[in-house]
Amino acid sequence: MTATLSKDSVSEDPVLQWVTFKLAGETYGVNVMQVQEVLRYTEIAPVPGAPPYVMGIVNLRGNVVTVIDARFRFGLQPGEISENTRIVILEAEAHVVGILVDSVAEVVYLKQSEIETAPNVGNEESARFIQGVCHKNDELLILIELDKLLTDDEWAELEAV
């Protein structure tokens, strides 16, 4: 799925749009084209037997959407729910899933040339879905590649939830 390109972005250096959110004090970004909507925190019904990174399910206008604990998935310390907590509904690999974040910030425009490769000095599986980093507005954005958020087996497992 392609990101939205601005008019003046020639194919040489396209400008891409990213939805940014906060998690454990750091700012992350996801491709705007993969964000369906952002929900206020609502009660999440746990599912017995679900993988540890699955918080539960929510009812979205009659549809059941699985919610993933992003902190757990990213290997971060657990956090507390606040009035800024949001559930971001995403579409990745033809799957609709929600992720729980501390807060949603804004949509930023990033040039392709501004995105740098992220360091990868660990053996953790979680590092595989870091697409890159970008310095914007005096902070470093960590860009997430949603398609790699879960493996094919994990996506299949999620379908069964």
Partner: protein, 341 residues
């Protein structure tokens, strides 16, 4: 004038003096007439010469002036000059007609044909250049790491070039540091064969020295680090600096994990960047550089463990870090710059 056949015909007619009946006065006939009149003029003596000449005047010549006559009469009365006989004119006309045909054929040729040949050459040359460029880039690029497919589709060439450039730079730095980290037979590294300057700094109560060679800048950690999940424990985070994003090493944990104190995360105030690579060492404080004599250093003979530790500085009682070797290790460990996913 040459745009149409009639204009072409008129042009050549005028140039070659066509003799078709009823045509207007031709230039050749006029030239013939002028020649005759000049001859007549020359035989008539001028008034000045008459005045000067004291000798008896010769008998005046009768000026023969031939009034202009119709062309037919003139042609009958006088023989044309050499080269302008009827036969010659017919030959000239045939030649002119032939030239007209050649010119028409040339003008009727599409100009696009000529340009397309040139364009084809230019396109081929550009394609060759692009092929060479792509091949050169392909040699630098091993395999794409984590990459956004959409970004690749949007700007595949730029994306590949960026990856190629960063990987190429890392590879070049790696090669340079490989050379610098070579130890000589005298048991000293390449950079310590003669007197060298070193920077002293403190890390969690431990004093360390690093050679100024291969050091970059000293930067404060005022803005704080951006932590990236999934990295090794000795990776502190990324620091945004005017010189680019620096990957900061937890020097205390890296150098002495057995004595590591987590308070270093709060006490670390500066980063010392390594020249040529996006890596930096986090330190508590930095002191003035000192000049060291290689003879005053206890060089390590066995470096299988902790290869980045060069030796001990006797005068300062501190450990000397082999920065080129450390840089080489950092580059090799960074899969984001080197390896494929």
């Amino acid at each position: 004038m040459l745009a149409n056949d009639k204009g072409l015909r008129d042009y050549f007619d005028e140039l070659l003096c066509d003799l078709s009946p009823g045509s207007s006065e031709n230039a050749l006939e006029e030239t013939t007439q002028e020649t005759t009149e000049e001859t007549t003029e020359e035989t008539r003596p001028g008034p000045q010469s008459r005045e000067r000449d004291d000798s008896p005047e010769p008998a005046p010549d009768v000026a023969v002036s031939v009034p202009p006559q119709p062309t037919a009469q003139r042609s009958q009365s006088k023989a044309p000059p050499k080269g302008f006989s009827l036969k010659d004119k017919r030959q000239n006309k045939q030649l002119a007609d032939k030239q007209k045909e050649q010119l028409q054929a040339l003008l009727s040729k599409p100009i696009v044909g000529i340009a397309s040949a040139l364009e084809t050459k230019a396109i081929d040359a550009a394609a060759d250049r692009k092929k060479l460029t792509t091949e050169a880039l392909a040699k630098q690029i091993n395999k794409a790491p984590i990459a956004d497919i959409s970004a690749k589709q949007a700007a595949p060439e730029l994306h590949e070039q960026q990856l190629g450039i960063s990987r190429a730079e890392a590879q070049l730095a790696d090669q340079a540091y490989k050379a610098a980290s070579t130890w000589c037979e005298n048991g000293r590294p390449e950079w310590a064969q003669e007197h060298f300057e070193a920077l002293l700094f403190e890390v969690s109560g431990l004093k360390l020295a690093v050679p100024l060679v291969a050091l970059g800048q000293i930067l404060p950690m005022e803005q704080g680090l951006t932590h990236i999940f999934g990295q090794s424990s000795w990776f502190m985070g990324v620091l945004a600096s005017p010189f680019g994003n620096l990957r900061v090493v937890n020097t205390a944990l890296f150098v002495m994990p057995e004595r590591y104190d987590e308070s270093f995360l709060d006490s670390a105030a500066y980063v010392i960047s390594v020249h040529g690579v996006p890596w930096a060492l986090a330190v508590d404080s930095v002191t003035q550089p000192i000049k060291l004599d290689p003879n005053e250093i206890n060089w390590r003979s066995e470096r299988s463990k902790r290869p980045w530790l060069a030796g001990t500085v006797k005068s300062a009682m501190c450990a000397l870090i082999d920065i080129p070797t450390m840089a080489e290790l950092l580059i090799e460990s960074d899969a984001g710059l080197n390896n494929a996913k």
